[in-house]
Point group: C2
Chain length 227, copies 2
């Protein structure tokens, strides 16, 4: 489903270059539940952005469901993202001046879902992540973990077949974190593909396989670290 | 040092009221190392904002180092914050269009520290949190955990006597997280007071006492939960 070969991602900054990913191969099958782990700055979010078609590699090949995506025009990438991918960002990226409800409805707007259905689906998703009593709050009127859960609800509302979640429980106590992981488990049981970035072992333990990153490279489990 | 009695914090939203803190008593001595733990939405950040004089309670009393702060004018609060408190925000709150270095220098600017000294101290703090090679990056050019570490560096650069850190390791792998905790431990060994909010047990274990919150109230350890 996800096939990456020789992926390189460089960030150029004036004279210096940051080698965020240095020749990485990633292969994820349909329906897998995978964790990406590694130290801060090792390239996890960069890799997630590439998998999620939010950015392009500096070089290398990326086939998503058989299609070569690294050279597709932006419109095609946007369409793929909207139809197939659900992305939970490490820094949430919510619209600050609009309610949770509207924030969660956003992907459905792009999919041309009728207003009544959009609202019903958004409410259902917010209830599922435990935020039934917060639907009218703006993100600035929410706790950190509540914002994180709005970002999760938004990623799932369009029923994506591939869920990419970057540190989805970084701001959640273990009970709330486990509730979120049950949602991911049931999606995986329905056949959805789940790719998580996490630094918490109890979260990584929900997945069936781990990809270890260090300094922009994939390393073996012995070289990788997770408490 | 920190003495709170009968603290209530309500957020009014149109017709509804959110009771974020409902009659909370908190007592923290000089030089203590305390963790505040509890579920998402239980009032931890709200409590931290009150302790840090960033907000006022709806009712109740707060004495900081013997002074009744809940009724002080804003200027006095700003002065106390700058001289004594270092605050690591759950959502970092960095200036997006300015370098890490300038972000970390900011508290020193308010303290009228001369330019050369400001830059030297900011560089030293960034090196201490492992970001020597990232000083010229803007926050948008950093990983999530790197941004978190810039927020930590900024909180510590003015050598505060009270450090308030809200989920300081939420985006950090356990090795980087432990490095940050060693910094807090050595500050505590020098006599600084440390108050942490965390949901991770290995982080809470660095502190000597835990305050458990649930639904805006302090509860006993048996009622509180931490994995
Ligand atoms: N400005 C606001 N207006 C209305 N309600 C608010 C506001 N800020 C916070 N709240 C609500 O107050 C409650 C407590 O928020 P707080 O941020 O203190 O929780 P928390 O314990 O830090 O949670 P988390 O672990 O998720 O960060 C939450 O339920 C939140 O929705
Ligand atoms: N826009 C950018 N310009 C320059 N360097 C960048 C940019 N974005 C990220 N980087 C650098 O690339 C490296 C990898 O970043 P990435 O966000 O992928 O790390 P990460 O593994 O997700 O880290 P964390 O666990 O801290 O979130 C980091 O060292 C970071 O400083
Ligand atoms: Mg990241
Ligand atoms: Mg909080």
């Amino acid at each position: 489903l996800i096939e990456m070969k020789n992926i390189v991602k460089d960030y150029r900054m004036g004279g210096a270059t940051v080698h965020a990913l240095r020749r990485v191969d990633v292969s994820i099958d349909d329906g897998e539940f995978v964790s990406i782990v590694g130290p801060s700055g090792s390239g996890k979010s960069t890799l997630m952005n590439l998998i999620g078609c939010l950015d392009r590699p500096s070089s290398g090949e990326y086939h998503l469901d058989g299609r070569k995506v690294d050279e597709l025009p932006d419109d095609d990438l946007a369409r793929i993202r909207n139809k197939r991918l659900g992305f939970v960002f490490q820094t949430f990226n919510l619209l600050p001046r609009t309610s949770c409800l509207r924030n969660v409805e956003l992907p459905l707007l792009y999919s041309n879902v009728p207003r009544k259905t959009r609202e019903a689906k958004a409410r259902e998703m917010l209830e599922r992540v435990g935020l039934k009593d917060r639907v009218d709050h703006n993100p600035s009127e929410l706790s950190g973990g509540e914002r994180q859960r709005v970002a999760i609800a938004r990623a799932l509302v369009n029923e994506p077949t591939i869920v990419l979640a970057d540190e989805p429980t970084g701001n959640l106590d273990s009970k709330t974190g486990s509730e979120i992981m049950s949602i991911f488990e049931s999606l995986n049981a329905e056949g959805k593909t789940i790719v998580l970035v996490t630094h918490e072992k109890y979260i990584a333990d929900y997945s069936k396989r781990m990809i270890y990153l260090r300094d922009g490279m994939v390393v073996t489990p012995e070289e990788g670290t997770l408490r």
